[in-house]
């Protein structure tokens, strides 16, 4: 019979944190798939504990709960890995499992013995703050470790594929392009998870001097709340249903966010808040991102029927983003001047919110790609399908791919009545290519903005988040995973 676990909540959290740091120090490529498989359990346990921990203050929370956002990103990764079949079901990563068990045990203890704890004294508040900081730090470091392992794993596969191809190894024994792309797509989304967690970690660093000390975060702005709620709602909507109208709205809102980010960046540059060279680099990539999202939205727009309606919750979240951007960066004649924007909001904080949203955009673009590539319920009017599928088939022919030769995409009756029919492969290919363009553009925008620290506290004081857990040469910057170029097999 195993000995009874007598660790306190604080000890369980400290052990989890230590395990995540240890994992990062000796992570290797071969652990990558197992870590991805286990990730869902870690996030679930952390979210459960987060929900039962007492609040840091008796006042109502001033903004959206970051853990909700992390949970939807974690759920999205789990959904994608289950849909793509990579990396399969077995084996799991022992250290991440141990972390998940520790967090679940801590949640049990808090539920059983800690429900009457109230943040009425400074000491209690400090304890709760420290506990939450530990949970978030554990997730942050573990996500980084998983991303490092996954990056090495994907590189290994690419190198092996290259060598195997040169040595003419039988195709069945080589790594597949599909597997490499699946690993790289998941890696990119771990980068998003890591960056979202980074903001909290930097505001609540787990150091001896800070633990036990309350550091109130600045109140959440309307823009920050709207962008965060939008991100969460997109994940929820696309996990629950597929309607082209939702993808149109996604593309349009993301394009607007990119435009607003460029406007606020320029305003910050004008006000000497950020370096002019940085402004130039950032705005170029943000503009490209805006164009990529707009193109994707337009293509999805062609596939919407007259009876297509977006999810009401998504439509509401989109309206709030529009209203928040309007209140931040617009005047009655268009975009507001830098002086006007600076008069309304803290430029650096607004920029940070928009940048964080661009980080989340990478994940949203992956979801859009996944819907385009795999969703079996996608339909569109026959005439549009015929036109688009034919166009993609011609592009394929130019690339010497003859798979679509002689194929028809809809019957003459379906064309005559413009019936909604399932999307054929070549029409999906066009959407996937456009999503790939979005992923590339968003990754470039995120990389260009990397010097802008996503943390709240870094805006107040320049501090580097957990340097002690980083290996030399490893970067906290999100890995730039760019999808396969057009025309590659999926």
């Amino acid at each position: 019979m195993p000995a009874r676990d007598r660790r306190t909540v604080g000890e369980l959290l400290a052990d989890s944190d230590a395990l995540s740091r240890e994992m990062l120090l000796d992570v290797s490529a071969k652990q990558g798939p197992a870590m991805v498989r286990t990730w869902g359990q870690v996030v679930q346990s952390a979210a459960r504990l987060w929900a039962v921990l007492p609040p840091i203050s008796v006042a109502a929370p001033s903004g959206p709960d970051l853990m909700v956002r992390l949970r939807v990103i974690g759920d999205g990764i789990a959904h994608s890995t289950s849909a793509s079949g990579w990396p399969g079901l077995e084996p799991m990563d022992e250290r991440l499992l141990e972390i998940a068990r520790n967090l679940s045990r801590a949640a049990d203890l808090v539920e059983r013995y800690g429900q009457d704890v109230q943040p009425t004294s400074a000491e209690t508040r400090a304890d709760i703050t420290a506990a939450r900081a530990r949970v978030m730090h554990t997730l942050y470091v573990a996500a980084h470790g998983t991303a490092v392992a996954l990056g090495e794993y994907a590189n290994d596969l690419r190198n092996r594929l290259h060598l195997d191809t040169q040595r003419r190894r039988p195709v069945g024994l080589r790594p597949t392009v599909r597997e490499i792309e699946a690993a790289e797509a998941v890696l990119s989304r771990f980068g998003v998870f890591e960056q979202v967690a980074a903001g909290y970690v930097a505001a609540h660093p787990v150091t001896a001097s800070v633990l036990g000390e309350v550091r109130p975060t600045p109140p959440t702005t309307r823009l920050q709340s709207a962008l965060s709620a939008w991100d969460i709602q997109v994940h929820r909507t696309l996990a629950a249903r597929t309607d082209a109208a939702d993808l149109v709205r996604l593309g349009r809102v993301q394009a607007l966010i990119a435009s607003a980010a460029a406007i606020v960046t320029e305003a910050a540059g004008e006000k000497a808040e950020i370096d002019p060279e940085m402004v130039r680099r950032l705005t170029v990539t943000l503009d490209a991102s805006q164009v990529a999202w707009s193109r994707m939205a337009k293509r999805w727009g062609e596939l919407t029927g007259q009876d297509s309606r977006p999810d009401p919750a998504l439509a509401r979240a989109a309206s709030e983003v529009r209203a928040a951007i309007s209140a931040t960066a617009c005047n009655p004649t268009g975009w507001a001047t830098p002086d006007q924007i600076a008069g309304r909001v803290d430029l650096k904080r607004a920029l940070k919110s928009l940048h964080l949203s661009m980080v989340g955009a990478v994940d949203l673009a992956h979801i859009a790609r996944e819907v385009a590539a795999t969703d079996p319920t996608l339909t569109a009017p026959a005439r549009v399908i015929v036109m688009r599928a034919q166009g993609e088939a011609e592009i394929a022919r130019e690339q010497a791919l003859t798979g679509y030769e002689g194929m028809t995409w809809a019957s003459s009756r379906q064309i005559a009545t413009n019936q909604a029919i399932p999307l054929p492969e070549p029409a999906r290919r066009g959407l996937v290519n456009l999503s790939n363009d979005v992923i590339v553009a968003c990754n470039r925008a995120v990389a260009a903005a990397a010097p802008l620290d996503p943390s709240e506290s870094a805006l107040l004081e320049k501090s580097s988040p957990p340097a002690s857990v980083r290996r030399p040469g490893q970067s906290r910057q999100m890995p730039r995973q760019e999808p396969a170029p057009r025309g590659r097999p999926r």
Partner: protein, 116 residues
């Protein structure tokens, strides 16, 4: 949702068609304006109003039909507002009144904003 009589349903259907067409034109303008076009805000606002209108309708309501005539989003918005004025009588559902207020704001935006 409150039940609406047939005439109101038909009128709101007409409003949604007008708003969708206005949004389509506004997006064309926004796309032509390049990546920093502030017309995106107007276009997205019209999209929101069209959604709000379609959410008022029963699911069975058919939104297909002839494309409304007109090439100016502001004019189409004004037509939608005129239709709404007919059904926004005392005792009308609050969401219908809210839609009318939203469309009125968009008319102002279309006539004074960057999209004008």
């Amino acid at each position: 949702m409150e039940q609406m009589d047939t005439e109101v349903v038909e009128t709101v259907t007409g409003v949604v068609r007008l708003l969708r067409r206005a949004a389509e034109l506004a997006w064309i303008e926004a796309d032509q304006g390049g990546p920093r076009s502030s017309s995106q805000l107007l276009a997205l606002g019209i999209d929101s109003a069209a959604d709000e209108g379609s959410f008022l309708l029963p699911r069975r309501a058919r939104l297909d039909g002839p494309t409304p005539v007109g090439h100016d989003p502001a004019e189409l918005l004004a037509s939608a507002e005129q239709l709404l004025r007919r059904i926004c009588v005392v005792g009308a559902p609050p969401r219908l009144l809210g839609l009318r207020a939203l469309v009125a704001e968009l008319i102002l935006e279309a006539n004074t904003g960057a999209g004008a």
